[in-house]
Amino acid sequence: MADQTLPIAGTLDVTPPRRSTAMLLEWLHGWVVTVDHKRLGILYMVYGIFFLLVGGAEAIAIRIQLAWPGMHFLSPELYNEMFTMHGTTMVFLVGMTILFGFANYLVPLMIGARDMAFPRLNAFSFWMTAFGGLLLYYSFIGGFGLYGMGAAPDVGWWAYAPLTARAFSPGHATDYWALALIVAGFGTLGTAINIIATAASMRCRGMSLLRMPLFVWLMVVTSGLTLITITPLTAAQVMLLIDRYLGGHFFDTQAGGSAVVWMHFFWIFGHPEVYVLVLPAFGVASEVIPVFSRKAIFGYPAMVAASVGIAFVSLGVWAHHMFTVGMTSVGNTFFVLSTGLVGVPTGIKIFNWLATLWGGKIRFRVPMLFCLAFVIQFLCAGLTGIMLSVAPWNWQLHNSYFVIAHFHYVLVGAIVFNIFAAIYYWYPKMTGRLLDETLGKWHFWLFFIGFHLTFDTMHFVGFLGMPRSIYTYEPDRGWNTLNLWISIGGLIQGIAVLLFAWNLVHSYFKGKEAGNDPWDAWTLEWAVPSPPPPYNFAADPVVHSRRPLWDLKHPEDPDWKYEP
């Protein structure tokens, strides 16, 4: 039944695909000048996955250095560069790019459009982001820092003043950091504007706001949040450059400036940034969990409201990164309470995912495994977040490995797990072939075990008082065994990611043919061939409910009968 009604009548192009006779250079040229949202989406993802490997290698280097006390695997200078570059890379060049890549690829397909609202702006944004990444990494060979030529940024990804002042960070390693993020930030801003305009103005007939797939909703909320969070970072970095190049005094305490103002500006960006990364991950979970539970998502309007709620609350919590700075008790109390408030909308989301699973006919395929692990891990990350939001507790554990464990539980346990889920779920749509299931299960279990070995253990070294960002430690602190476990866990995760990279390449050539709709899913992207033609839909689709393909496959029991 399902196979007969697919694809939607009239949406399929019947002309046979022309055999490409292009030379390699022409093929490359095609990718460079493309304005097609699907190709740009893939470029974003390839770029992000490349930097995932780079940032992962940096993490492994850090963990080898910390595996035993008194190690000299890296020099202290290189160690500082490694943790700065690891953080900056993972947040700006991996998380943002992969998630915006998915948004680029999926948002037009999901709302029945032929492209983004501004295809050329889209290409411009990608190349700006790409240039930002190159600029950041060029510092490894071209930057002139405290240690001479070849100095990468080494001031931490938060780049606290006054360490970034000319006197303490001579040379231009820090300038590479600021300029690279300003450039990449413009790219991000362009994409965010584009996604909002696409979702607002390019929807197909019948795709009302409350019929948009949750992934699209989450990307709209994320983009809105991006508009008002990336820009403060840009502003703060412009101030930093004014201080460094024009002799300004924004963060110069000797002339009456304030280093704490930088902290405020940075975290006004930095905290919502976590939500910019995690909201698209929520979007992925909200697409994958229903399809593999064979049930419609539970509480769609509540999910939308909770997403918007998270975005709003996230704008008022930044100073919980700064309890140890010494704010007034009123300030502390405000940020304790507002941070606790984040738990309410996120709790709504977790309960909705659980209710979607409840009574469902769960299929344990690889994307679903990643999403299930996400729900559990995100819950734990949320709970340690509530612990850290309590100011007195925070005073004890701030800048310890407990904090590192907490935010890696969010960034890896929630976001990276969902990125993997998304890649396993949509790879067939992008390439026409399924990723290998056995390799995928190996990847999942290795990564899952490695993740817990590393980050569960990190909570305990944090309790035992190990501070973050230290080069090495004394052997008599009682951290030795735990640190070794953490490093072994890191290596296991590294092996899992390499397996995954092999799977991506292997399945591209040898994978099982996917067909249009390998998961029996319900959103519009599965109605077009895999990979979709450049124009997506030969005829503009019309939808009547939140699950247009369900209506198509089950004309006797369509969704629109039940939806308001």
């Binding site: 965010a192 924004f250 002339a255 009456g256 198509l552």
Partner: protein
């Protein structure tokens, strides 16, 4: 095969203009940038350790402000003319808008010249100089970008490339100019009234 379930879609299908949505999004992002600079300015009011202080050197630029704010009116009149298809009148109002914007920039240049060469205030003199030149300079940069855009459109109009059908795009661009004017109200209040 024609299995698409048919239910009536209520009313005609209309969506907001993508240009307008995008420009409003851009303005939202820009507002955040200005907010950070304004907050920095307000926070650092009275924290300069060395002279010159604002009350000694700043004069209120009333003429400048009147020019910039009235350019919002003239661009609105230009928008109305192109909506009615009167291209010549449109070009006239549009050129007047550019002239008013230019007067504002010249006024700023004269003010900065006085501050730098007579009062000895530069961006590195003290905190006031740092915050003043960066906030007012950020706004002036936006005025310059706006003037470049306005002039390009005037050029296209004079060479006969702008017709009534471009009304929508013209209005989207005018939104940006209105935003630049509105930001001046905030900058003016903070720098010349509160901070002085």
């Amino acid at each position: 095969m024609s299995a698409i379930p048919v239910t009536p879609v209520a009313g005609p299908w209309s969506l907001p203009s993508r240009g307008r949505v995008a420009m409003l999004s851009l303005i939202t992002g820009e507002s955040a940038i200005f907010t950070i600079f304004v907050v920095a300015y307000v926070f650092y009011i009275g924290k300069s350790l060395t002279p010159p202080y604002p009350q000694q050197v700043l004069d209120i630029p009333i003429f400048n402000t009147i020019c910039l704010l009235s350019s919002s009116v003239t661009i609105w009149l230009a928008e109305r003319q192109i909506d009615r298809g009167k291209i010549r009148l449109f070009a006239a109002w549009w050129a007047l808008t550019i002239a008013l914007g230019m007067i504002f920039m010249i006024g700023t240049a004269i003010e900065w010249h006085k501050l730098i060469y007579i009062d000895g205030l530069t961006i590195r003199t003290n905190l006031f100089g740092t915050t003043f030149y960066s906030l007012v300079g950020l706004h002036a940069t936006h005025v310059v970008v706006g003037l470049i855009g306005l002039s390009l459109i005037l050029l296209f109009t004079l060479t006969g490339h702008v017709t009534e059908e471009h009304s929508e795009r013209i209005q989207v661009f005018a939104l940006y100019w209105h935003f630049v004017d509105a930001v001046w109200v905030v900058v003016f209040t903070v720098v010349y009234i509160v901070g002085r």
